[in-house]
Symmetry: C2
Subunit: 151 residues, 2 copies
């Protein structure tokens, strides 16, 4: 992977690759503080933790909240290697994250551009600014390679 | 509250009342195994745990998965005192819960009858059977009383 190690999405991709190495669907997420420091980094761990909620974004958000001692991540941003699902989109809103950056889109499970499009609903009371596409090709390739070996 | 102690929704209401006593938004959830035994019971703890994902349903699902040693709760049912939000609806689907029973509807935050209506989306790959209304009045009254003292 030839990306910039100062780019948070690069670290989300590293977390996704680590998830693949553990046999988990390769998705990674990073939470960055208002000053640009990475405060949490996580990969998907649903199988390892036997927890259907242990998506990368959920783990990174919970870790960041613990680090900051606050259930709101006001002014923080999240970088995810894949479009968040409906559950994670909800958590991103509740955590008051400022910007959501995601790499590949997910037509099958995504909840931002697809399905219930949570951030467009009147039941969504905090909308992050959404940025999509950076490192999308690398992320999609990692997912394809992972599922090729499984199916 | 004059309800049947053998009714799982009664126990969801007890968890909701306990949440209110802790200063948390009064929502409670109970997961019941295939044989009718309660395997997890939780109230909302977002403030206490400083965790925006610590909704009653999420905590009950995670506790039930830990109890069963499985990230899928196949054949289990969940009883919630309030319509699950978009995040919790996602978790209920991922956990493969069989039946979702909820008491009061939630037009402001709900994700089952309102907003993105997750279970009706093509991005939802497991739909529980949904049952609504039992103890709805008691749950709505508890929420109203809680917010009356806060606002």
């Amino acid at each position: 992977m030839t990306t910039d190690p100062n780019d948070p999405m690069h670290h989300a991709m590293i977390a996704a690759e680590a998830a693949a190495a553990r046999g988990e669907v390769p998705v990674g997420a990073v939470v960055v503080g208002p000053d640009g420091t990475i405060i949490a980094q996580a990969g998907n761990r649903t199988l390892e933790l036997k927890d259907p909620t242990a998506h990368a974004e959920m783990l990174a958000i919970r870790e960041a909240c613990e680090a900051l001692g606050n259930e709101r991540l006001t002014g923080c941003d999240i970088y995810v290697s894949l479009e968040p699902c409906q559950m994670c989109a909800g958590a991103i809103s509740f955590a008051r994250l400022r910007n959501l950056h995601f790499a590949a889109a997910d037509p099958k499970m995504g909840g931002v551009l697809h399905g219930g499009k949570f951030f467009e609903q009147p039941t969504c009371h905090h909308r992050p600014e959404v940025h999509q596409g950076h490192l999308a090709h690398q992320s999609a390739e990692l997912l394809r390679a992972f599922f090729r070996t499984r199916r």
